[in-house]
C-alpha cells in the first residue's frame, strides 16, 4: 500500500471522518527536527493509521506542561527538560528519540581561535543564565585542566546567535549545528564547532525527543502505537529522501527560508537514525548517564528514575 | 400647590457658622425675595433647600412633606450659569425637563425666542455673552417641571432693559401658573418690583433680619418703579441693609 502514497490527498478534507484526532505540540518553530512529522502528514502515514494529526506551535507555552496537562497528546521535548520535569513529578515520558546523538555544541566564529575547551579561558560565553550551562562548560574544560572561572558569562536573552557574536559581545554560544550551524555555512561564516559528544560521553543525551504523558500511556496505548508507527515511517522517509522531505516541510510551512531548510535537511537526515538499529530507539544508559551527571553537579534535587522517563515499547517492532 | 416651610436651619462650614436659625415660610403661589450682603449665606440656603447638603439642624417642608436633604423637589437657577459646554443652547435648556422624562422641544424653542435668544438654538455656551448664558440658565429652570422655583440672582448680568423684559416675563409666567418663587437678588428695586414679600438676611452668620410685605397690587406695570411709594420702600429697605454692615 505504499505505492500510492504520493497520490494521497494531503488535506484532510471529507476523509477526516472516522479518523481519531490527536495533536502534537512542537518545541519551537517548525524546523528540520520536525520533518518526519510533516512527511507523515503529507504522505498520509497518519491517515493510514487512522489518525488526524494537528501540528501545533507552542508559542511561549512550551510543550512539556501542555502535554503533561493533556492539552496536547504528544509533544517535542528534550532529555534535559524531561529529566528536570520528572524530578518535579511532571508526568511526561519520552517515547522516541528524533536524533540519536546530541548535535549541539559550542560554536565560535573562526577568528576567535577557539579550537578546544581550553581556549574558552578569557573568552565570553553568551547563554541564557541556567546553572546547567556553567556545569557543562566546566565538564568540558576540566578535561583539559582549564579553569571555568576564567570564562565570562553574559546572558544574551532572546538575541540571536549571529547578532551576538558578530557584534563582538560574546565569543561563543551553545547552538544546534543542524540549524544555526548550517545557516552559518550558508552565510560563508567559518565556525569552530565543539560538539559536546566529542568531550563527554555523559553529555550525549537525546535532543529532541517525542513525549506523551503517563495517563495517555495507561489509557490509550493503541493510539500511541499507531502514532509512532506513522512518525517512524515519516522519519525513515526523510532519511531516504532528504530533498523531497525538505520540500514537504517548505510546502507545509512556506514562511521558512527554503534554502536553509534544504541545507539543514541534507545535513540532518543521516543523523536521525545514525548508528542505531532503528529510528527512535533510546538506551537506558544514556538517560542514567546524563541524569547522574546532573545530579553530581548539583543540578538535580534528587536522582532520576531513568526507567520511567522513557520507553521504546511504542516503536514499531 | 407648593408651600415651603424653612424651620430653624443652621449650617456651618468648618466650624464657621453661615446660617443661624433661619425660619420662614413661602406660601403657595407667593413670590418671596431674599436680600442680604454678599457672602451672607443666601446661595447656601438654596443649596440646603435643594438637598445638595444637609443642614446641621432644622428642616424643610414642601407641601407638608419633609424634604430636608431630598433632591429634585425644586427647580433652580444657580448663581453661575452652569451650562454644559458640550450641549447646544437648546439641549442645555431641555436638561431640567429631560431629567424627568418630558422634554418638549417646541416649548423650549418658544421660550428661547422669548428670552431674546432666537437664532442661538444651536450655539454652544462658549459662543454666548455672559448675559446670554444667564438667560439660558434661567430658561432652563423655567422649563423644569417642579412647581417651586428658586432663582439665585438670575438677572445680575443683564442690562436694565433686558432685565425689565425678563422680570415682566417672569411675572407673567408666575401669574399664569402661580408657581411659588424664592428669589435672590442684590437689586432692591428688583426685589420690590417682583415680590410679595422681601426677607432680609444679616451676615456672619446669617440670621433672619426683617421681613417686608410689599403691598403693590398685581399685575404690576413698570410705571410703579417711578412712584413715590416705590422710592419710599426702596429707602426703607436700603436703610435696613445699611444697618447690617
Amino acid at each position: 500500500n505504499s505505492d500510492n502514497e504520493d497520490a494521497k490527498p494531503s488535506e484532510n478534507g471529507e476523509e477526516t471522518e472516522g479518523l481519531k484526532p490527536v495533536s502534537i505540540v512542537l518545541d519551537w518553530t517548525p524546523n528540520t527536527n520536525h520533518t518526519g512529522l510533516y512527511v507523515a502528514q503529507k504522505q498520509g502515514f497518519f491517515e493510514e493509521q487512522g489518525l488526524d494529526v494537528e501540528i501545533l506551535m507552542p508559542g511561549e507555552a512550551g510543550a512539556d506542561q501542555l502535554v503533561a496537562s493533556g492539552q496536547a497528546d504528544f509533544g517535542i521535548s528534550a532529555q534535559e527538560s524531561i529529566t528536570e520535569a520528572r524530578v518535579q513529578d511532571i508526568p511526561i515520558v519520552s517515547i522516541g528519540a528524533v536524533i540519536q546523538h546530541n548535535t549541539s555544541g559550542f560554536a565560535a566564529p573562526a577568528d576567535r581561535g577557539i579550537q578546544s575547551p581550553a581556549d574558552f579561558e578569557g573568552k565570553t560565553y553568551g547563554g541564557w543564565g541556567a546553572p546547567v550551562e556553567e556545569a557543562v562548560i566546566d565538564s568540558l574544560m576540566n578535561q583539559e585542566d582549564a579553569d571555568v572561572s576564567k570564562v565570562e558569562t553574559i546572558n544574551m536573552g532572546n538575541s540571536d546567535y549571529f547578532t551576538a557574536v558578530e557584534r563582538g559581545d560574546i565569543d561563543f554560544a551553545w547552538i544546534y549545528y543542524g540549524w544555526t550551524g548550517v545557516e552559518a555555512e550558508l552565510r560563508d561564516m567559518e565556525l569552530d564547532m565543539l560538539y559536546l559528544t566529542d568531550y563527554s560521553k555523559k553529555l550525549d543525551y537525546y535532543t529532541p525527543v517525542i513525549i506523551t504523558n503517563e495517563k495517555k500511556i495507561a489509557n490509550d496505548p493503541e493510539t500511541i502505537k499507531s502514532f509512532m508507527a506513522a512518525v517512524s515511517q515519516g522519519y525513515e522517509y526523510a532519511i531516504d529522501n532528504p530533498a523531497h522531505a525538505a520540500d514537504i516541510l517548505i510546502e507545509a510551512v512556506p514562511d521558512l527560508d527554503a534554502e536553509l531548510v534544504k541545507a539543514s535537511q541534507e545535513w540532518l537526515s543521516p543523523k536521525y537514525q545514525d548508528d542505531a538499529e532503528q529510528w527512535g530507539i533510546q538506551k537506558q544508559e544514556v538517560w542514567e548517564n546524563y541524569a547522574g551527571w546532573m545530579y553530581e553537579n548539583g543540578l538535580l534535587e534528587e536522582e532520576l528514575d531513568a526507567e520511567k522517563a522513557f520507553t521504546n515499547e511504542f516503536l514499531p517492532q | 400647590m407648593s408651600q415651603l416651610i424653612v424651620e430653624n436651619i443652621r449650617k456651618s462650614f468648618h466650624k464657621k457658622t453661615v446660617l443661624d436659625d433661619i425660619s420662614f415660610t413661602v406660601e403657595d403661589g407667593e413670590f418671596v425675595s431674599l436680600l442680604g450682603p454678599s457672602g451672607s449665606g443666601k446661595s447656601t440656603l438654596f443649596h440646603l433647600i435643594g438637598g445638595l447638603y444637609e443642614p446641621d439642624s432644622g428642616d424643610f417642608y414642601l407641601d407638608g412633606k419633609k424634604i430636608t436633604g431630598k433632591r429634585g423637589s425644586i427647580s433652580y437657577t444657580p448663581q453661575s450659569p452652569s451650562l454644559f459646554p458640550w450641549r447646544t443652547v437648546l439641549k442645555n435648556i431641555m436638561l431640567g425637563s429631560e431629567l424627568f422624562g418630558k422634554p418638549d422641544e417646541q416649548e423650549a424653542r418658544v421660550m428661547l425666542e422669548k428670552a431674546g435668544l432666537g437664532g442661538y438654538e444651536n450655539a454652544y455656551p462658549h459662543q454666548l455673552s455672559g448675559g446670554m448664558r444667564q438667560r439660558v440658565a434661567f430658561v432652563r429652570s423655567l422649563l423644569s417641571p417642579q412647581s417651586f422655583i428658586c432663582l439665585d440672582e438670575p438677572f445680575s448680568a443683564l442690562d436694565e432693559l433686558t432685565r425689565l423684559e425678563m422680570q415682566k416675563w417672569l411675572l407673567a409666567i408666575w401669574g399664569q401658573n402661580r408657581r411659588s418663587v424664592l428669589f435672590i437678588t442684590h437689586s432692591i428695586e428688583e426685589a420690590i418690583f417682583l415680590s410679595d414679600r422681601i426677607i432680609v438676611l444679616s451676615s456672619n452668620p446669617a440670621t433672619l433680619k426683617r421681613e417686608f410685605k410689599i403691598p403693590f397690587p398685581r399685575p404690576r406695570e413698570e410705571d410703579i418703579l417711578l412712584t413715590e411709594e416705590f422710592l419710599k420702600w426702596k429707602k426703607e429697605i436700603y436703610q435696613e441693609l445699611k444697618v447690617l454692615q
Binding site: 511561549e60 512550551g62 514562511d255 | 433632591r71 459646554p85 429631560e98
Partner: protein, 256 residues
C-alpha cells in the same frame, strides 16, 4: 481630502527622511542585510512575499478588532463599576493593577492549559492588555467632572445614573479617548503577542518563523505590517474622537 494631505505631509516627510538615512547608512556602513536590512530590501520582500503573508494580516486584524472591542467594553464597564460603586473600587482597584503585572509569558501556559489552543486565551491576553489604560483614564475622567455642574445636577434632582450618563460620561469623553488611544496602540502588539501563545496564522506567527529561519528582511516586513495596522487603528480612534467631541471651542478663541 485636502485636509488629510495638509495634516499628513509633515509626519510623512519625517518618516521618508528616516528611511533615506537608513538606506544610505545601510549602503555606507555596509551593514550586512541579515543584521539590519536596508529599506529597499524590506520593500522588495514586502512586495514579493505578499501572497505568502496576506492571510496572516487578516488573521491578526480579526484578532485585534475582536480583542480590542472586548477590551474596550470590559475597560469601560470596569471603570463604570469602580466609579459608581466606591466600595467596589476600594476592593478591586488594587486587583486591577495586579492584573497588569502577571507576565504574559507566565500566564500563557496557564491560559492554554485552561482554555486550549482556541481563540479564547488569545482574546483574554489582548483584553488584559487593552482594558487597563481605558479603565484608568475613564475613572480619572469621571472623577474630574466639574463640581459646579455636579452640584447643578444634584439640585435639579438628577439620579446617580442620570448624573453619570448626562454629565460624567460626556465630561470624561476626552479622557476616555486618551485611554482608547493608548489601548488601540497596544492592541496590535497584544494580538501579536497572543499569537505567540500558539497559533497557526497571524503576523506573530509569520514573524517567529521568519526570525527562527534568520530571515531578517521578513521580520522587518512583519514589523512594518504591525506598525501600519497600528496607525490605522489609531486613526480610527482619532476620527471617532473628532466625531464625538465636537463642542471644543475652536476657531476664533483658539490660538492653535
Amino acid at each position: 481630502m485636502h485636509k488629510v494631505i495638509k495634516a499628513g505631509w509633515r509626519p510623512l516627510l519625517v518618516i521618508i527622511l528616516l528611511f533615506i538615512i537608513w538606506e544610505l547608512s545601510s549602503t555606507f556602513f555596509e551593514i550586512p542585510s541579515w543584521l539590519l536590512p536596508a529599506p529597499s530590501e524590506i520593500w522588495q520582500e514586502g512586495v514579493a512575499g505578499w501572497p505568502n503573508y496576506h492571510h496572516h494580516i487578516w488573521s491578526t486584524i480579526q484578532l485585534t478588532v475582536i480583542g480590542f472591542s472586548i477590551g474596550c467594553i470590559v475597560g469601560l464597564m470596569v471603570a463604570i463599576a469602580l466609579h459608581l460603586m466606591p466600595r467596589v473600587r476600594e476592593a478591586f482597584y488594587p486587583l486591577m493593577i495586579l492584573s497588569q503585572n502577571i507576565p504574559i509569558i507566565v500566564l500563557a501556559p496557564l491560559l492554554v492549559i485552561w482554555f486550549g489552543f482556541g481563540m479564547m486565551p488569545k482574546i483574554i491576553v489582548i483584553t488584559l492588555v487593552c482594558f487597563f489604560p481605558i479603565a484608568v483614564s475613564a475613572v480619572d475622567g469621571f472623577r474630574q467632572t466639574s463640581q459646579e455642574l455636579i452640584h447643578y445636577m444634584k439640585m435639579a434632582g438628577a439620579s446617580k445614573g442620570q448624573i453619570f450618563l448626562k454629565l460624567e460620561l460626556p465630561h470624561a469623553l476626552p479622557s476616555l479617548f486618551s485611554g482608547l488611544k493608548i489601548s488601540a496602540t497596544y492592541s496590535v502588539m497584544g494580538a501579536v503577542i497572543s499569537e505567540w501563545l500558539g497559533a497557526n496564522r497571524g503576523i506573530g506567527v509569520y514573524m517567529t518563523l521568519a526570525s527562527s529561519s534568520f530571515r531578517t528582511d521578513r521580520v522587518f516586513v512583519a514589523i512594518f505590517m504591525i506598525m501600519i495596522l497600528c496607525m490605522l487603528f489609531f486613526l480610527v480612534i482619532i476620527s471617532l474622537e473628532k466625531l464625538f467631541i465636537k463642542w471644543r471651542p475652536k476657531g476664533e478663541g483658539n490660538s492653535k
